[in-house]
């Protein structure tokens, strides 16, 4: 299977392990990722607060580059990039003003029909839960996982069956043999966009998420967003629970968990790049 791939800026830097583990996972599943050549930043939140036109133009450029390269289906792992690009794609289809303006500026006319996937619905629809389960070599038995969707994933109906209590990530974790826990902060915002400008707010939000995961007795938190992961992981050091003890909850990408379950070496999944060391946990569960 071949699928177009738009990594986005985060997967190139602070979330490199998301890219590494995604590629490793696809290799194991015989999926060829066709990266959009010379893709540019999608703009994300700062552009949406600066210029409506630019917030459409940047994603549109990427759509243009993807289509010109023959890509008909595009996997976008970062929910923020996915939001920007799918928003523009939908606006082109429904809003004549937007369509005309973008066509005018870029000289390229998007005719519609580009299928855009979130990691979750890509796994459910193209890999299938049954197919995933069949590939598992090392079930994540005994691993209690808090499924963290983050605030944006729930806006994709294909990926989130319910905006407030989605269940797809839990289903995937179960297919991998893991044990999803019931916890309260599934779709709460981690404050990543404020991480640099208002770290005080971000720290409060992270504290709530980590406390909730602790209460639910989670061994680790599974994420599908590079911003959530880097925020929760990089900033976890220095945060303490209400009794004053420091948190040490590994924050792992879903693709890394899949990689482990499918029998990949941890080095191939970028596990060493995680700030909170996940080694002890995996060794304790016999997964390393």
């Amino acid at each position: 299977m071949e699928i177009g791939y738009y990594p986005g800026c985060s997967l190139e830097s602070t979330s490199r392990e998301f890219d590494i583990s995604l590629r490793a996972m696809c290799r194991m599943m015989d999926i060829t990722l066709v990266e959009v050549p010379d893709w540019i930043c999608c703009g994300t939140s700062p552009t949406h607060a600066f210029s409506q036109e630019l917030s459409h133009m940047l994603p549109y450029k990427n759509i243009q580059k993807a289509e010109t390269h023959g890509i008909k289906e595009l996997l976008i792992p970062c929910p923020s990039c996915l939001y920007s690009i799918s928003h523009t794609e939908a606006a082109c289809v429904t809003d004549a003003n937007v369509r005309q303006r973008l066509s005018e500026v870029t000289g390229y006319t998007y005719e519609g029909g580009l299928k855009i996937y979130h990691l979750l619905d890509f796994l459910r629809d193209r890999v299938t839960l049954g197919g995933l389960k069949a590939m598992v070599k090392k079930p994540l038995e005994g691993l209690k996982i808090a499924s963290y969707y983050g605030c944006l994933t729930r806006f994709f109906p294909a990926a989130a069956d319910d905006m407030e209590q989605p269940s797809l990530l839990e289903q995937i974790i179960e297919a991998l043999g893991g044990q999803p826990v019931e916890w309260t902060c599934k779709v709460d915002c981690c404050g990543a966009s404020l991480s640099i400008t208002r770290p005080d707010i971000t720290k409060r939000l992270l504290g709530e998420i980590l406390q909730s995961a602790t209460r639910a007795s989670a061994d680790c938190i599974a994420v599908v967003c590079p911003l959530c992961q880097s925020n929760l992981d990089i900033r976890q050091k220095g945060l303490t629970n209400p009794s004053g003890a420091p948190y040490a909850i590994p924050v792992i990408y879903l693709t890394q968990l899949i990689g482990i379950a499918l029998g990949a070496q941890s080095g191939a999944l970028g596990m060493e790049k995680l700030m909170i060391d996940v080694g002890p946990l995996l060794r304790a569960k016999g997964l390393l």
Binding site: D162, E164, Q165, T184, C185, S212, R215, A216
Partner: protein, 464 residues
Amino acid sequence: MTESSHHENIELLTYSEVIEVKGFVGNFDVTIRMRPRSVDMSKCTGCGDCLTKCPAKVRSEADQGLGTRRAIYKPFSNAVPNVPVIDREHCIYFTKGKCKVCQKICKAGAINYEQEETIRTEKFGAIIVATGFSLFDISKYGEYGGGRYKDVITGLQLERMIDPNGPTGGHLVRPSDGKPAKSVVFVQCVGSRDEVKGMAYCSKVCCMYTAKQAILLKDHFPETQSYVFYIDIRATGKNYEEFILRAQREYGVVYLRGRVSKIHDPGDKLEVYGADTLAGESVKINADLVVLASAMVPNPDARDLARMLNIPYDSYGFYSEIHPKLQPVESITRGMFIAGACTFPKDIPDSVMMGSAAAAKVCTLFAADELTVEPKLAEVDVDKCVGCFNCIDVCPYEAIQKDTVSGRNVARVIQTLCQGCGNCASTCRSGALDVKGFTDKAIYAQIAAPFEPDEEEEDVYAGA
């Protein structure tokens, strides 16, 4: 209820349903299915022995799922008639062929497993439809944990809990762990005033019953602290506004103006996140129990029933009256009346008023020897009628019949059913059908009038 069951002019048919209605005012042919109770009503003494011995337990509908009942049961303790019914879907005898304990225990020999349903058709002069309401399904609000969190309940469930005959014996406890509930949060407008995933309308009764519940809790359980999240307080009846103020002033109920955004259940207490727009702050409360005032909605089978009875309903499924202000209890079918919450959310005084009004209308109907109707009725000119019967297909009231005149097939309008809507007149290809008082000729003349040249105005002062 007991009074009506003993009244000499009232026959109470319980565990029964209407399955067909034909005919017209004064002459409705109503077919009723009387389902088998499996208990002989003429023998049962209402002693209640069978109720305690039945081994099959089922979630109680009357207790809103909070408690259990048996397979042989009475819907609630003071149900009328005082005769139980066997729920054949859960009865061990009917599902597995064993048990029969109730029959062994019954001293009156009233249990009859072979009882079958009976169908009866009778003529009735008028019909009053007062089929009531249901509650909005709170599981649609995932952000409130409706249906997931045990300690998030509906107002009706709270009523059952504080009833001494209820599932908790009248104790205010958390369904999750049975511990007493001290901090209670009431959330109004759940499913109401929500254009996105609920009903756009206001359910009218919640502001008042929430205040009542908060007052009752404080009265019976003085250590309770209640909070009410509201958007607007609708207290428009007699002494209603004063009642709300009493809740706030005398019973210490804290009213917060803002909708609740989400409820978390981390394990012990519930975390309620809402806002108080008056103070301009977001608010968090740790609650033992959360009570959702869920919207009043039409019954799930309201539309099916309405189609059977030929009563129009609105986009929500509420039954429509002919005129919302001047004829609130009459439906478009003559002789069929509507009352209560099946028309729109209502409280008890309003429902009683509508019921009384409908009854009075029926009395007026029956007191007359003749039926007076508006003359706006359809009429067939049999000379023009070609017998195509397209009119029968388009008549919503089944008021047109096939007839024979001088050997020809023609249409005939049943005047007691006709409501003068004009569908048939506009469909009739041969111009045989017309509505009295609104004939085609008259309508065309109305349309032509503005286009006629102005008449020369006579100058009355000319020549003066």
